[in-house]
């Protein structure tokens, strides 16, 4: 491949940087940096999920915290039952908790997919501002539900004492867990790149740009958008399970609308619809939080200023600034 585009070059640099990062952090004797990098990988995955709906499909969901939180609670509920050796329920059949990541991920993906299906079925009947407000409202419904439901800690959330297990890997080692999360992030990126270039992706992009044309071509936009919304929710749900595992804690905060806003901000900071937009956005976000959060407790004030500046004056996001306008074929 001669002549790599600047964007591709940037993507490769970022990928390599993340791959070797634990060695750098270890060499610098800053193990905490590995936790930060793990957060970057997880938040990137969450944003990759949203980017599929938002960037590729043009679905401005302001409720993706719902899926992030459901993924988190899937982990929290399964692991807390495993921790206390109590079944989750016994009727009509017995379901036990588990501390196996693979099962937890599967449950997180399925549950957030089901939630996305229901929310999508209702909210995709509308568009524009209605869609934004309705996705926000349904996420808020789940948020209030978890706050007022005492079984799993209500407002206080759930703590898990030991990180969950992955066959053949010592997940208690921060680097190992980082590489698990990074692998899933790459898988998410690969999946979303593949989807974007597939027949489905073509239909989804057409649904964003010109629904009338897509329908006249014989493809029903509603079904395309709903499918994208569900896949998007599943990816973000998986990220939620990982985040809960990283923190060994899940609470309604993961479901709050600030979380929805944050995931959206990641996508925008990096550049909407760009493959690596979410990763760049998450990198900027975490670095920003780390630097400014260390200097002032009001760091979000400055985040707000930067975000406002990006929206008003730098609409292509960081990748737009570094690599120029998005290319289409």
């Amino acid at each position: 491949m001669p002549n790599l585009s600047r964007e591709t070059f940037l993507n490769i640099i970022i990928s390599l940087g993340l791959l070797v990062f634990p060695f750098i952090a270890t060499a610098m004797d800053e193990p905490f940096y590995i936790t930060l990098a793990t957060r970057v990988a997880i938040l990137s995955l969450a944003a990759v999920g949203l980017n599929l709906a938002l960037g590729t499909g043009g679905l401005v969901s302001f409720g993706h915290a719902a899926f992030f939180g459901i993924g988190g609670y899937a982990m929290g509920i399964l692991a807390s039952h495993a921790q206390t050796y109590t079944p989750i329920f016994t009727w009509p059949f017995v379901i036990e908790g588990t501390n196996q990541m693979l099962i937890i991920w599967l449950v997180a993906i399925v549950m957030s997919g089901i939630a996305a299906l229901f929310i999508g079925l209702l909210s995709l009947r509308t568009s524009g501002v209605y869609f934004i407000m309705i996705t926000l409202a349904f996420a808020q419904m789940i948020y209030y539900f978890m706050i007022s439901w005492p079984t799993y800690g209500g407002e206080d959330g759930l703590s898990i004492y030991v990180r969950n297990q992955f066959p053949g890997v010592n997940t208690l080692d921060p680097s190992s867990f980082f590489y698990i999360c990074l692998a899933l992030m790459f898988a998410g990126l690969g999946l979303s790149a593949m989807i974007k270039n597939s027949r489905f992706g073509a239909a989804l992009q057409a649904a964003r740009q010109n629904e009338e044309r897509l329908a006249a071509t014989g493809i029903r936009p509603f079904n395309i958008k709903l499918t994208a919304f569900v896949i998007s929710g599943m990816i973000t749900g998986l990220a939620g399970a990982l985040m809960a595992d990283l923190n060994r804690f899940v609470s309604p905060t993961m479901l709050s609308w600030h979380m929805s806003g944050e995931i959206m901000v990641l996508v925008i900071l990096g550049g909407v619809g760009r493959l690596y937009g979410p990763v760049v956005g998450a990198l900027i976000f975490i670095i920003f939080e780390f630097i400014f959060g260390g200097m002032t407790e009001f760091w979000q004030f400055y985040l707000g200023l930067v975000l406002l500046g990006v929206v008003l004056f730098a609409r292509g996001g960081a990748i737009g600034l570094l690599a120029g306008k998005a290319r289409h074929d």
Partner: protein
């Protein structure tokens, strides 16, 4: 449950609905006229509450505080419109959402810098502090009753403003057709600033009134903002009448759900389980209401064909 309790809750729901209306009216006006979705509307509610609490603490007068809330929120509205919102009218909804989300971060944290993280307290004026006796010995909080009356008056005032005044005619013309009112020689930029400021002042006023019932703290506007969204989804975006109907509906359903659902589940569960299931489900009741309305009337109850 006794009828007095039920009646009291009904009034509480009405009071809540009236407050929601003050929020929703501004949101829906701004959307109807300028086509803008403003997440930072809740911050204006917060600004109103803080202004009221600060001025009331400094002067000892709730009434001065109330005036200050309207002035502060209205003034903040003018500034925000002129420096930020104005650049967003021609942008897509995504940009509007992000920019106004950024405004929330700036205003909330800014407020925290000035007032700190601890809640402020605001007392209702003395003569409204106790209960009043309504018919048949039924007692109800004088302050809440006052909110219902004042909110009702504001709703009426807003209706007269929109239907009877010159400004209202221009606002409605602006909803129908921007070019048309430009052709009529109305200064659109000023009109938009005024509409935004009216919405802001209403939100600030609502925040101040609620500040004496809840505590005044950073982030207090956000739950109300989201309920106001539910209200205008239910009522139909851009419609003041829809906002009024939606507000009352949401206020009453939410309040009644909280008191009746635990009792309902107690009929076939033990009390502890009924309380927790009832609490969890009642927190969802208005969203279920929204979902049902969406299924049957995706454009909202009062459709504007916008």
């Amino acid at each position: 449950m006794s009828t007095t309790l039920l009646f009291e809750q009904l009034l509480n729901g009405l009071q809540y609905g009236v407050t929601l209306f003050l929020m929703a009216a501004g949101l829906t006006l701004v959307f109807g006229v300028m086509g803008l979705i403003n997440l930072a509307h809740g911050s204006l509610y917060m600004i109103g509450a803080f202004a009221c609490a600060a001025v009331a603490a400094a002067t000892g007068s709730f009434w001065l505080g109330l005036v200050a809330s309207i002035v502060a929120a209205g003034f903040a509205g003018v500034l925000i419109e002129m420096f930020v919102i104005r650049r967003l009218y021609d942008r897509d909804h995504l940009d509007q959402v992000l920019a106004t989300f950024a405004l929330i971060l700036i205003l909330s944290e800014g407020c925290r810098m000035v007032f700190g993280s601890f809640p402020l307290y605001l007392d209702a004026p003395g003569f409204l502090a106790g209960p009043v006796t309504l018919f048949g010995g039924f007692q109800y909080s004088a302050y809440r009753l006052a909110i219902i009356l004042v909110g009702g008056l504001v709703a009426l005032g807003l209706y007269l403003l929109i239907t009877k005044t010159r400004l209202g005619i221009r606002i409605r013309a602006g909803e129908a057709d921007r070019e048309m009112i430009a052709a009529l020689g109305v200064n659109i930029a000023t009109l938009y600033t005024i509409v935004f400021a009216i919405g802001a002042a209403l939100a600030g006023f609502a925040g101040a009134m609620m500040g004496a019932i809840q505590s005044v703290q950073v982030g207090m506007g956000e739950p109300v903002l989201i309920l106001a969204f539910v209200v205008i989804v239910i009522g139909g975006i851009g419609s003041i009448k829809g906002a009024l109907i939606g507000s009352i509906l949401v206020g009453v359903v939410d309040t009644l759900g909280r008191v009746t659902l635990p009792g309902f589940f107690n009929l076939f569960m033990d009390t502890a389980a009924a309380n927790s299931v009832g609490a969890a489900l009642s927190s969802m009741s208005i969203y279920v209401l929204m979902a049902v309305i969406l299924i049957f009337k995706p454009e909202g109850l009062v459709s504007n064909n916008a």
